[in-house]
């Protein structure tokens, strides 16, 4: 059952991205979608709207990029509750650190090791 919920909610979030790309101006690029979805996830999380979606859909809500924003926002809130103002700086990055570091480390290594296509 959790797989079905992850599939439908995760697929649904991607459909929103597809509609934004297809129905809006050509100036809306994948980069704008990524930036918008992370920032949107931070906003929804701050309003308390994203955690219920994570409770319902699991990876269907955490794997899409708004889930990354949710992680950052909840980390910042927890950081402030535990460490005061310093936590606003460290909390978000701490919570999302595994994903950020994995993306930079694996991204760098693959780009350094693999052969670019067309060469």
């Amino acid at each position: 059952m959790d797989y079905l919920k992850a599939f439908i909610v995760g697929g649904g979030i991607c459909v929103i991205g597809q509609l934004l790309m297809d129905l809006t101006s050509y100036r809306v690029t994948p980069a704008h979608i990524l930036v918008g979805f992370v920032t949107g996830g931070v906003a929804l999380s701050a309003l308390g709207l994203y955690q219920p979606l994570v409770d319902f859909a699991g990876a269907g809500a955490t794997v899409p990029l708004p889930g990354f924003g949710h992680l950052l926002a909840q980390g910042a809130v927890r950081g402030v509750r535990e460490n005061g103002l310093l936590g606003a700086f460290a909390g978000g990055v701490e919570a999302a650190a595994t994903g950020i570091a994995a993306a930079i480390i694996f991204g760098y290594l693959v780009a350094a090791v693999f052969t670019p296509r067309g060469e």
């Binding site: 959790d2 797989y3 992850a6 599939f7 439908i8 995760g10 697929g11 649904g12 979030i13 991607c14 459909v15 991205g17 597809q18 509609l19 934004l20 297809d22 129905l23 980069a31 979608i33 990524l34 930036v35 920032t39 931070v42 906003a43 699991g58 990876a59 269907g60 955490t62 794997v63 899409p64 990029l65 990354f68 950052l72 926002a73 980390g75 910042a76 809130v77 950081g79 402030v80 509750r81 103002l85 936590g87 606003a88 700086f89 909390g91 978000g92 595994t98 994903g99 950020i100 994995a102 993306a103 930079i104 694996f106 991204g107 760098y108 693959v110 780009a111 693999f114 670019p116 296509r117």
Partner: protein, 150 residues
């Protein structure tokens, strides 16, 4: 030419453009995005359940699942497979965290001939840079609001 006539011509021209410009195959794109996006999230759920079953806490298991997806997406991008899938999946391969990994590897690999620092090191943040900047700043604002008003 009178102004009104000019306006009229502009209107006719934009109607012509709207008629002949290629329309995105919306239904096909949306279907692709739904199925590929859904499939990636389902794989994420399977990884999450697996990491819980080997004893990780819920949050750690979620982070480990994300890191695994990122690893797989980085390799598939390096092999040129991810971008082939993206042709059918559209936003289904962009919106999940795997799209973030793809956005790092693809430009880094493409510009590698410009060197390991200005090619790989700099270009890997072409899209990831803005994503991290907006994510960090907005989350910091949320933290600040919590500090001030809670």
């Amino acid at each position: 030419m009178k102004a009104s006539e000019h306006e009229m011509q502009k209107k006719i021209y934009s109607q012509m453009v709207a008629r002949i410009k290629p329309k995105p195959p919306l239904v096909r794109n949306v279907t692709g995005a739904f199925f590929f996006g859904g499939a990636i999230c389902t794989l994420g759920q399977a990884l999450w359940n697996f990491y819980i079953s080997v004893g990780l806490a819920k949050d750690d298991a979620s982070a480990a699942a994300a890191a695994t997806l990122i690893f797989v997406a980085a390799i598939l991008t390096g092999l040129g497979v991810y971008d082939s899938i993206a042709k059918y999946a559209g936003a289904g391969t962009i919106v999940p965290i795997t799209g973030f990994a793809n956005s790092i590897v693809a430009p880094a690999l493409e510009y590698r001939r410009e060197g390991m620092v200005f090619g790989v090191g700099q270009r890997m943040f072409t899209i990831a840079g803005p994503v991290l900047a907006y994510g960090f700043v907005s989350a910091w604002i949320v933290g600040l609001m919590t500090y001030l008003f809670e």
